[in-house]
């Protein structure tokens, strides 16, 4: 078995449209300012951290496939282009790129818009909007923009499914079906998603964006980070609640040096955080919790955790980083990234 390296990272978050902005916000450690989302029928809006428009209009928006694409696709494409910058600069056009897009809520803006039109008058609901409601739309658009994508899939699940996506990408590389694989987690904000989150975890602050990891087996493309481990998926059940699953994930990750970084997923709300905090109670090393700064970004937040872990190792700040993902309703999974010379 050969090694799998992180060849690049990309991020769009309320901190900004690149990994540097994410890094800066996490290093600062202060929660970003909040905005609000209007909710129909309520005077009081819901809190959220929105992704600001980029300072200059991204060139990729001129691509014909993105004319009607929703914000989630913009985030996915921006993160993908950042994560593949080195790959695209260093290879000829023959390389085979795999693509795994991971979503929990997915294309909620256009889904809401289309269903709203349906309820008002189904005979005039827009045929332009409907195709953008499907989970597979962002993957299709980014594949069209990147052009070299030969194999693609969209995974749906709770945020820990991002590591299922990384595992799938690594599998495709090991089977030599692709030369590099881009794994992206993304979400977009919308009033109905904020409303659902309010029902499930009131203190949570909804946010959106995307995180991308470009994986490769080619050491020359390595950003100085290798994928060392992904745990099994510890699925929740009547016998295996979130607390047990989180502990099993922690055990499987094994002992780490206290000098390693822990990139955890706490910060959504007390009820959600309890199992993960319990699993890492004895952790004495450095820890970063992107959700405390950025908010609850669902699958995007899981991707930011992995991007932040890889970025910290790539930047030489840590020799290794563990990622802890205790998902909301499916599974707990963990991963470890290590520095390579």
């Amino acid at each position: 078995m050969s090694r799998v390296f992180a060849a690049g990272m990309g991020a769009v978050s309320p901190a900004g449209w690149n990994v540097g902005a994410l890094r800066e916000a996490l290093e600062k450690g202060e929660p970003l300012p909040m905005q609000t989302i209007e909710r129909p029928g309520w005077e009081k809006p819901l809190p959220a951290r929105l992704v600001s428009n980029p300072t200059t209009r991204p060139g990729f928006l001129a691509h014909p496939r993105l004319r009607r694409a929703s914000l989630i696709t913009h985030y996915v494409v921006a993160a993908a282009l950042e994560a593949t910058a080195k790959l695209r600069a260093s290879r000829n056009s023959k390389y085979r790129l795999g693509l795994v897009v991971c979503l929990q809520a997915g294309c909620v803006n256009y889904s809401c818009r289309f269903y709203d039109e349906t309820l008002k008058d189904p005979a005039t609901a827009s045929p332009l909007v409907f195709p953008e409601t499907v989970y597979a739309a962002p993957a299709s658009h980014v594949a069209a923009v990147l052009e070299n994508v030969s194999l693609a899939s969209t995974l749906v699940g709770d945020p820990a499914a991002f590591l299922q996506g990384v595992s799938l990408g690594a599998q495709w590389l090991e089977e030599d079906r692709v030369d590099a694989c881009l794994v992206i987690g993304a979400e977009e904000t919308n009033w109905i998603l904020a409303d659902a989150l309010w029902h499930l975890e009131r203190p949570a602050i909804l946010t959106a964006g995307a995180g991308a990891l470009c994986l490769s087996r080619n050491p020359k493309l390595s950003a100085g980070v290798a994928l060392a481990a992904i745990t099994d998926a510890h699925t929740y059940s009547a016998q295996n609640n979130r607390t047990r699953a989180a502990r099993a994930m922690r055990r499987q990750l094994g002992d780490s040096s206290p000098r390693d970084l822990l990139c955890d997923g706490v910060g959504s709300g007390p009820r959600t955080d309890v199992p993960e905090l319990a699993a890492w109670r004895d952790w004495t090393g450095p820890r970063v919790s992107p959700k405390r700064v950025l908010g609850e970004g669902l699958m995007a937040a899981a991707a930011w955790q992995c991007v932040a872990a890889c970025d910290a190792v790539a930047g030489g700040r840590f020799a290794a980083a563990n990622v802890s993902l205790v998902g909301s309703n499916q599974q707990a999974m963990g991963a470890r990234f290590e520095a390579v010379a």
């Binding site: 078995m1 289309f114 309820l119 195709p131 953008e132 597979a136 590591l163 499930l200 992904i230 998926a233």
Partner: protein, 413 residues
Amino acid sequence: MLFPTTSPSPEPPRVVITGAGIVTALGLGWKLNADGFRAGRTAFRPVSLFDVSRQRAKQAAEVDLPVALPPTRLSPKQSARLDRAASLLLLATREAWQQSGWEPTENLPLVLGTTAGGMSLGETYFRQAVQKPRHHRHQATRAVHYQPQVQARMILEALGFSGPITILSNACASGSNAIGHAWELIRYGQADRVLAGGYDALSELVFVGFDALQALSTTICRPFDAHRDGLALGEGAAVVAFETLESARRRGADILGELIGYGTAIDQHHLTQPHPQGSTTLTVMEQACATAGVAPEEIDYVNAHGTGTVLNDSSEALAIGAWAGRRAATLPVSSTKANIGHLLGAAGAVEAVICLMTLREQWLPPEIMFETPDPACKFPIMQKPQDARVNVVLSNSFGFGGVNASLILRRWT
């Protein structure tokens, strides 16, 4: 650990199917469906699940769900939370589970394809949030059970097994991709057994969406017919139990068939339209043949994606013609979407089970309403019920977004 994995054996194990469950508008279970497909029955009727009075199309293939779900390990409260899609999934999984003869176990992967998951719950959530914003009753439950991974977890609870859940959502290729992914998990040594399939229920949003695109037939769904005018929607689920041949033999299981080939790739031509020449379709059919080690001459039947839309069928017909070469002139092809409609995320899995039926019972499913071949069709469309010698079959599925998939199944003798 999912990574690093142990190196797969140089010779991948053979993967056989020892259980299959199917639910379509033709009925619940293998027998009703086999009888229906063999006779070429169609199952379309006026839509009753939601109001279609303002739509161009008025018909779909609705499933008659039983008044009560069969007993499982779910409590009555849990069972009551299952929406239509989860109920379809439960019925299909239970049939596959019982047929396989597997015992409740840990670490049994479940791989599912769906496009909409619990869309009906999402619609109800939206309506209540808009029309009665101060009423919160059941909204939290809907927000959770709308999600496909939660529906999958309910299936695990219902049947008493546990294991990793993977949900693939590559639009209408989802079911085939789920089956192909499960096959790869076993071939690459990551599992000995996997349950895999697809499910989708009819929903207002999706029906209106396809109607808005003018993709729905306002007459009769006639895939590959020169006068076709669109697809018809249906709903259903299918699940198969995969295991290594060694495992099946060890326990003396009844083997229904073998999956021997899988190909998948993405067509970047357009979000909703296939490449006019079917270039990606050709690629995945060739990939599937390469992994199966068979040539087009050895394929006895193609279960086409065949939606009944002008663009899909002409593109697929050209691809089948290019792939099959001389074999095309005598290669039996049909689309069972003519019988049960397009089942979206369930389609690939349901059609894989139909292929199993043809292999197991040695007949070909006809398109009874088919009249005039599209000029692009260089192959015969099965129009009449007929028995046939069927040893190897290929099934195509393509989705919005461009993911294409082909599966090849072989008769077990």
